[in-house]
Amino acid sequence: MNRRMKGALAVLALAAAAVLVSAAFAGSTATPGVTKTTITIGGTFPLTGPVALYGVIPKAENAYFQYVNAHGGVNGRKIVFKVYDDQYNPANTVPLTKKLVEQDKVFAVYGSLGTAPTLATRDYLNNKGVPQVLVATGDSYWGAQWKKYPWTIGFQPDYPGESSIYGQFIAAKVPQAKIGVLIQDDAYGQNYYDGLIKGLGDAKSKIVDVEKYDATQTDVSQQVVKLKAAGANVFALFALPTQTIDALVVATKIGWKPVTFINNVSASPLFLGLAVKSGANLDGDITTDYLYDYINNPGTAPATLYKSILSTYDKGADPNDTSNLYGVASAWTMVQALKQAGSSPTRSGLMKEFTTFNHVVNPFLYPGIKLNTTPIERYPIDQQVLEHYQNGRMVPFGHIFSNAR
């Protein structure tokens, strides 16, 4: 190789790199999040990758925003919803969130999905004073740590709140309970355990055994056998979907039929269907819900609207996938806060609306469950209803519980 070429080569390499750099950096000029005719929000979601099944959520949310836009928008403005695929990897979430804020100039980061992605971006967003609202994760951080992170707020009931309801129910309705608990051996599992203890109150002495599994472990049969051997007649099953399905199948196989509580995350029709297919007997098993029960109430106004929004603006979406209903309910809440924020919204004004929901009725939530927050109580949905498994589906029963804190 000619020596002279080394220099020329270097210059060319540099030029090539510069072309690539400038191509990638060619951004638009500043677009404010709020213009006369539009309001721009955005979020990060796993559209591809290991948890891509949640990728339907932003599509359902977008469908609701399209529906609102078609009916005049919010205070005369159309909602522009920017969605980026972070593949559930915080290494992607962080730069994409910066892109939303600094390049797309969003008014607020809305609905971003996942605990780790949210933890990875909340320092940045709170430092910048950008609302990080209705994050799609059930961890208790968002409601509990509002003093340090006032710009972050969640949506769905948090994990300890949910398990506190099971605790309350067991303490009141299962007097002879001998409780066996199965949790993941990390902060996620600890969250559920703490809530259960709180809900049980004095009845916490009825716990006869706590078994844990490592997050990477998919076979939990040993733990289930131990819980049966410990004489438990109540099974608090607070796991991820894979382990939940395994535990339910194993319990049926070894002839153990305790009163079983399955956490909401793992109790979607999809996962329960898989458990049944693998031979699990779910009759009477209990979980919680907070979304509108459109399956048992077809033809009602919320059910009809939900289905027509999906069929018009999110073609091909399966209304029986509860993630879609979650998306529409969340988007409704976002629109409500934007409406309340008035005709010249500010970021701090938006946070004020999110922290002063006064028993707001969201039609896509279970009737009677209301959005309720105060500046020091930042759990938008803090009530749930219990459901039990009958004739192949979950059916609500009893009264509405409030999460114990």
């Binding site: 000619n2 070429m5 220099g7 270097a10 390499a13 690539l20 950096f25 730069p95 990875a120 902060a187």
Partner: protein
């Protein structure tokens, strides 16, 4: 012997590139600079893979795992023990060196695809280990680190990248680099010339892993967060793509490879829901096309273009035999 002309031109070109990198903050926004910092991370990571694979001929698909060692060292020392984040970098390099040395031991007996599979296993195992020891690593919920401005991150990442580049250049042009290339070109010839294969193979792995660990540390500072998903298999694959696109055994290709793997997905990404699902597909197709058109990487493409203009020299055929200086 006086300084050769090629060396002088090489140094001059390096200074020009360095000057451009140093001046970019004048024209780029803070967001662009944090993206530029990530290009710096990939620059170090691809450089590290080039040492072990491009120059020593030992295939590694586990570079992401070595980055994880560095990233977690920085995160744990900063988050759990209150260290200054920059002070953790030398420790990360040491931890990475040790990890690389150990992983290099199988390289004494395994070759080619078998060694690749061994490093592949490491790439798969390390994130799982991090998940399991959650008391220590934060598990899937990870550890958060202090945030920095894009300018700070860019300056930090490229300063370290510059140090790594000069280090690699000095290492590879000297006695050690010659030994590495001899091992790559023919192990039998190398050992009969008195090169101790066990020492140089494990040394190459160790140095490469130490640099990868530094890249991992810089990475977690850039994204101010770490969890096992950050160092998943796709990271190792991106680095592998970067080194192949840039050109194995060429220091010049590294910057092209780094820009390619970080900036192409960004350029392809837009915020429209239905199109974002196709980004990985488009990226994959572009990689296949690049490989079909320029199998020996960007460095070789530039060389061939220049040769086409000035002489009729035949281009080299072996991906591991080109640009060995």
């Amino acid at each position: 012997m006086t300084i050769s002309r090629s060396t002088a031109i090489g140094v001059g070109a390096t200074l020009v590139v360095a000057a451009v990198i140093a001046l970019l903050p004048l024209v780029l926004s803070d967001y662009d600079l944090s993206t530029g910092a990530t290009v710096g991370v990939f620059f170090i990571a691809i450089l590290s893979l080039n040492i072990v694979t491009g120059y020593t001929g030992q295939i590694s698909i586990g570079q992401g795992a070595f980055m994880a060692f560095g990233g977690y060292t920085t995160a744990i020392l900063t988050h759990n023990h209150g260290w200054n984040d920059l002070a953790t970098l030398p420790v990360a390099a040491l931890v990475g060196f040790a990890a690389g040395f150990v992983v290099g031991l199988p390289a004494l007996r395994l070759h080619g695809v078998y060694l690749a599979l061994t490093t592949f296993a490491v790439a798969l195992a390390v994130p799982q280990i991090a998940k399991n020891y959650s008391n220590f690593t934060g598990g899937t919920e990870g550890l958060a680190l202090p945030t920095h401005s894009g300018l700070w991150l860019y300056g930090m990442a490229w300063s370290i990248a510059g140090v790594m580049f000069v280090f690699s250049w000095l290492l590879l042009r000297g006695r050690t680099g010659r030994a590495f290339r001899a091992v790559r070109d023919s192990e039998i010839a190398a050992s009969s010339s008195g090169i101790a294969l066990p020492i140089y193979k494990t040394l190459s792995f160790g140095i490469s892993a130490a640099m990868a660990a530094v890249a991992g540390s810089v990475y977690v500072l850039v994204i101010n967060f770490v969890n096992p998903d950050v160092f998943g298999l796709s990271l190792s694959l991106y680095i592998l793509i970067g080194v192949v696109v840039g050109g194995l055994g060429s220091l010049w290709g590294v910057i092209v490879g780094a820009a390619f793997v970080e900036l192409l997905p960004i350029a392809l990404t837009d915020s429209h829901i239905s199109s974002s699902e196709s980004v990985p597909v488009i990226f994959g197709v572009v990689v296949i096309v690049v490989m079909a058109v320029v199998p020996l990487g960007a460095a070789d493409l530039l060389r061939r273009l220049l040769q086409f203009g000035s002489s009729n020299r035949e281009s080299a055929k072996s991906p591991l035999g080109t640009e060995a200086r």
